[in-house]
């Protein structure tokens, strides 16, 4: 009887374990469909806490910039999140889990084992935590705690690891999506507004993210207080949110320098110094074209960027002859030279990024040749449409493509 009773109890606990396993497995599938990371985390923590009969559960996410774990969601320990608890990687209970990439079980909680004052103040007696790992990288820590003395078992650790795996996969995809959404929002917020009415020019733009991934291409058009019209186009190496953030900083720095001088070479030299100091390692190409208030002349300076293609009425479009310059972010004393060009009224300027003309298995000159054939002195919207149709057509872009068309209106005497 006794032996049979023990077996029944064992079978009972195994069945219970199976149930608990199923419970965990169902967590993220149901929660993921709602696609809200805060809801997902809350759901996950409530279920994990219930399944493991724990008093608290918390997720801390790793902030790569600071090297801190930051409390993102908690059940039974909500003040962790409200107070923005931060734990340096390598220190304390959660910090050790993140640094060593492995689970930790504590049956003694005091100042020597735990850094987080809230866990101590709350009276937590036992803790068990696992790293959240996505694509081989630690993205955070999931832990549960008990208010009573308790020894977490290896079966319970397995359950927590299972929950952790599920959470890590779901969080990684949510974070990637957040990055993409943020990068896209940033890109959109940086689209230049319409030209001021007093400028006798028209413009049109196109922006196509490469392979569905937003990158660091940008353009900008604005008038300085002096009346000079600035057209800027650039490309930050890399992609995603990181490139988009650097792009945003370059764009606003360049606008600030343009308030001080109408010399594009000077502005690019200042931008280069700023980038090398504050964003070391970042590389970018930038081209500035500064139109005189009457649109009679334009000064163009390039930092590693393709020259514009210019179509004058009655002539085939040509690649502008401007001096080349080193890209931004490399050398302290790069030489910056600008070219001054006379403008025939009615001329159209096509500014673009490399994604428009670079194709594998094709020399650059072929791409430039095709662009010159496609650019004519049409109204900018039509010129954009023609160029995109001829150079992109039905292809899916692998690299970002940005195009800015600016046409100076034909002078009154001519028309």
């Amino acid at each position: 009887m006794q032996v049979g009773g023990a077996r029944a109890a064992e079978q009972g606990s195994r069945a219970e374990l199976q149930d608990r396993l199923r419970d965990i497995q169902s967590i993220t599938d149901a929660a993921l469909s709602r696609l809200d990371d805060q809801e997902l985390l809350t759901e996950l923590l409530e279920r994990t806490r219930a399944v493991l009969h724990a008093d608290t559960a918390a997720v801390l996410l790793l902030d790569y910039t600071s090297g801190h774990l930051i409390a993102a969601a908690a059940a039974g320990l909500e003040e962790e999140v409200r107070q923005g608890v931060r734990i340096p990687v390598g220190r304390g209970f959660a910090g050790r889990i993140a640094a060593q990439h492995r689970p930790v079980i504590l049956d003694r909680v005091d100042h020597s084992t735990v850094l987080n004052p809230i866990l101590l103040a709350k009276g937590i007696r036992a803790l068990m935590g696992v790293p959240l790992i996505a694509s081989g990288k630690v993205i955070g820590v999931l832990h549960v705690g008990s208010l009573t003395q308790r020894q977490f078992t290896s079966e319970e650790l397995e359950l927590l690891e299972l929950a952790g795996n599920r959470a890590a996969a779901a969080l990684a995809s949510l974070m990637a999506r957040d990055d993409r959404v943020a990068a896209e929002a940033l890109q959109r917020s940086l689209l230049p507004s319409a030209l001021p009415k007093e400028v006798s020019a028209d413009m049109a733009v196109r922006y196509v993210p490469g392979a569905g991934k937003v990158g660091g291409d940008w353009y900008d058009v604005f008038c300085a207080p002096s009346g000079h019209l600035w057209a800027v186009i650039g490309d930050v190496t890399g992609s995603g949110l990181a490139a988009a953030v650097i792009m945003g900083r370059m764009r606003s720095a360049l606008r600030a320098y343009a308030l001080e001088t109408a010399d594009p070479a000077d502005v690019l030299a200042r931008l280069d110094r700023k980038m090398q100091h504050f964003e070391p390692g970042a590389l970018a190409t930038v081209l500035c074209a500064v139109f005189e208030p009457g649109l009679d002349r334009v000064r163009i300076c390039s930092a590693g960027h393709f020259p514009p293609v210019i179509a004058a009425p009655g002539y085939a479009a040509e690649v502008a002859e401007i001096p080349s310059g080193l890209l931004i972010g490399v050398a302290r004393d790069a030489r910056r030279r600008a070219a001054t060009l006379e403008i025939t009224p009615g001329s159209l300027f096509c500014f673009y990024t490399d994604g428009l003309i670079e194709r594998r298995g094709q020399l650059i000159d072929q791409g430039l040749g095709r662009l010159c054939q496609a650019v004519t002195t049409q109204p900018p919207e039509l010129a954009c449409a023609a160029v995109m149709a001829d150079l992109v057509g039905n292809e899916t872009a692998t690299d970002d493509i940005a195009v800015l068309m600016l046409r100076c209106r034909p002078s009154a005497s001519q028309s």
Binding site: L283, G325, L326, V330, G361
Partner: protein, 129 residues
């Protein structure tokens, strides 16, 4: 893609690293590692041979800038001096466009790059060919 056969070395410390036909984001990391390894050895002349390269996008440009920065840092911190040289034909336009020719002397053939006694230190204009 770029194996042992693509690296040549002479007793006097001159070395050539041959680049593939196309350089883009798919192989730039590998190329960066090969260039990094080549730049970490002491050489009197290190030649990046892009004579067979017909396509090089911004990821490729970044790999070359990386090699330049590494050689430049080494030259500053040591008494030994490595001259970095570049050979380009199909991608010469892109090399000039991004201004790499202002950092590294550019030649049309490996023979010309090997033969040039001066090469010009970094940062100067490329030598006449």
């Amino acid at each position: 893609m770029i194996g042992g056969d693509d690296r040549r070395r002479w007793d006097d410390g001159r070395a050539v690293v041959r680049m593939p036909a196309e350089i883009d984001v798919t192989n730039a990391a590998e190329i960066r590692e090969v260039l990094r390894a080549a730049a970490s050895r002491s050489s009197s002349v290190l030649i990046i041979d892009m004579s067979a390269t017909t396509f090089c996008d911004s990821a490729g440009v970044q790999a070359i800038i990386d090699a330049y920065n590494q050689v430049d840092a080494r030259n500053r911190s040591r008494t030994t001096h490595t001259q970095l040289r570049l050979v380009a034909s199909g991608v010469r336009r892109i090399i000039a466009l991004v201004g790499i020719d202002q950092l590294i002397p550019v030649y049309s053939t490996v023979e010309a790059a090997l033969a040039d006694p001066a090469g010009g230190p970094h940062g100067r204009d490329q030598p006449a060919e």
